[in-house]
Amino acid sequence: MQMHQTARNDVLLELRDLETRFYGEESVTRALDGISFQVMKGETLGVVGESGCGKSVTALSILRLLPKVSARIVGGEVRFHGCNLLELSDREMRKIRGDQIAMIFQEPMTSLNPVYTIGHQIAEAVQIHTKASRSVAKAKAEEMLRLVRIADPERRVSNYPHEMSGGMRQRAMIAMALACSPELLIADEPTTALDVTIQAQILRLIVDLKERTGTAVMFITHDLGVVAETCQRVIVMYAGRIVEQATINDLFASPAHPYTQGLMRSMPDPRRGRQRRLPEIPGIVPSLRDPIVGCSFAPRCPFAIDICREKTPVLRDVRAGHTAACWRAEEVMGA
């Protein structure tokens, strides 16, 4: 799985030139500006970037969960098993969600219903998608709680979400998401709201379950440390575009996009000395309301030359299985 495989039948999900826009009263935000990538069967793909880069919008676009009034997918395709999800009816889409693609969120409280017990909610998810009988579904709920290592699942099935701790709720969310054995699990910052020791437990759980069930995972996070511990391949996003895509080892060993490089260097690292100034990325993220000419990172980029400000770089191979959208990727890798 470490290798970049292009055999068609291994591709589970493929995005082609996806464009999503948000419509305000006076402005249009180009939240996604031509996103293309693939998720292979059974792999863990990390999507990293800072707030506003479009990583969550990507997930919501795939599942067609964007707010209907203010957002629209204006172009591109989302192919799941080769079938374009954007062309499905709402009913067909509902069948895909939860059944074949499941999602977990940063704050489990928002997606758990506070008035039903955990067991009821998991059983309901099972029933909707498998038409199992109530008793079978209930047994399945208990089994799922055991799978996500919630202690004492026989008792916990009758707990309400507010009776559980944050870590436990996230486990319950994962149990619910995996109850129908989806082929793809989209995890949007699932550990960001958790404490470090609990985060370590949940990350370990997601990795273990992925290995056991063979579910592909799309792991959205802002934390490069989390990516390094969980993912096999990574996509780096900036200002609504993908700027780099590589296997985890390649990315950390030799980042080919100056943004990725800047991000890594700006993380505190005791090996480079304590109490010293960190190399920072100057400036701020551009507004996605105004059209961006050239490379969106150019104004902050130490490598920027004239062409960067004039022509938008496209993703290109810098070596096997490693692509970057930078005119000077080779120089960046050498730096």
Partner: protein, 342 residues
């Protein structure tokens, strides 16, 4: 000046948990229990721990935003925990705070200039010109353009807002700044900018920091000394380098092991520590960490371990790793408890 800038002795805060009309024994949340530490001028002390460990309560106690149940907070030898309002007003100048959330810690109705000059105007009256000059100066100090003076917080980015929060704290030229998760809400690249700013300010003005964070990467980068808290108590306090090189308390060890490291080639050996942080309403007996501790022995269940000084200048509260050979005399608990406006 001799002695530490800030000395905290046996600081304790209990919250009543639920209150009824008919008061029998009201259970208390032991948010902070017998916390003592010192901070020297120009030093950075980090307090780390997970949610509910009491680190934010310590910050608020230091600022006297809430009143301690017991204990003393001394600045240059003066106990500010016992001070009356007027005297406290004068001491507040020495200590300022930077908040976690750059959105809710700025009044959305005031301009950048108004926000950062407000503290000074609580102490002296400024003319229009003085105020402008002060605001411009403060903005420059935190790396912002003086043109930002008329902007509203909603027109600024998260990083710029946090710079404003720091400028506000600098306005009174304090000798100590308490930063409560000041970079936690920021993106990595912005976080680096703010950390650099804090380091610069420390170097230029000799400001001491009490830096509260859950992010060990950040803590390791900026701390001189680190205090690790668990369920309201300090379990280990050590020079930063020593702490990260060789954690002694099993909780410190677990915390460092659990932090994700941005290095995919690192092979993770340890299994993460099991279980969750227990409730501070009904903490475990003895050592609060014993239910999750791989080293726990019978004694840990019964007896709370005292903080024991070690050879390399650290103190650790653990029966197994730091057994108290001679039980050190406990410093007297200060009894001056005061309540104002509660």
């Amino acid at each position: 000046m001799n002695g530490p800038l800030l000395k905290v002795e046996n600081l304790t805060k209990h919250y009543p948990f639920g209150s009824g009309l008919f008061k029998k024994a009201i259970p208390v949340i032991r948010a902070v229990e017998d916390v003592s530490f010192t901070v020297d001028a120009g030093e950075t002390l980090c307090i780390v721990g997970e949610s509910g460990c009491g680190k934010s309560t310590v910050a608020r106690l230091l600022m006297r935003l809430i009143e301690p149940t017991a204990g003393r907070v001394l600045i240059d030898g003066t106990d500010i925990a016992g001070l009356k309002k007027d005297a406290l007003h004068a001491w507040r100048r020495r200590m300022q705070m930077v908040f976690q959330d750059p959105y809710s810690s700025l009044n959305p109705r005031l301009t950048a200039g108004q926000i950062i000059t407000e503290p000074v105007e609580n102490y002296e009256s400024l003319s229009r010109k003085q105020r402008q000059a002060l605001a411009a100066d403060l903005l420059r100090k935190v790396g912002m353009s003086p043109e930002m003076i008329h902007r509203l917080p909603s027109e600024l980015s998260g990083g710029q807002r946090q710079r404003l929060g720091i400028a506000r704290a600098l306005a009174l030229q304090p000798s100590l700044i308490i930063a409560d998760e000041a970079v936690s809400a920021l993106d990595v690249s912005v976080q680096a900018q703010i950390l650099n700013l804090l380091l610069d300010l420390q170097q230029q003005m000799g400001i001491a920091f009490v830096f509260i964070s859950h992010d060990l990467g950040v803590v390791e980068h900026i701390a001189h000394r680190v205090a690790v808290m668990y369920l309201g108590r300090i379990v280990e306090l050590a020079p930063s380098q020593a702490l990260f090189a060789k954690p002694v308390h099993p909780y410190t060890e677990a915390l460092i092991a659990a932090a994700p490291v941005p290095d995919p080639t690192r092979v993770r050996l340890e299994a993460p520590v099991e279980g969750e942080v227990p409730s501070p309403i009904n903490p475990p007996s003895g050592c609060a960490f014993h239910p999750r501790c791989p080293l726990a022995v019978e004694r840990c269940r019964v007896e709370a371990p005292p903080l024991v000084p070690m050879a390399d200048g650290r103190v650790v509260a653990c029966h197994v790793r730091a057994p108290a050979t001679v039980i050190p005399p406990k410093p007297p608990v200060a009894a001056n408890v005061s309540f104002i406006g509660t």
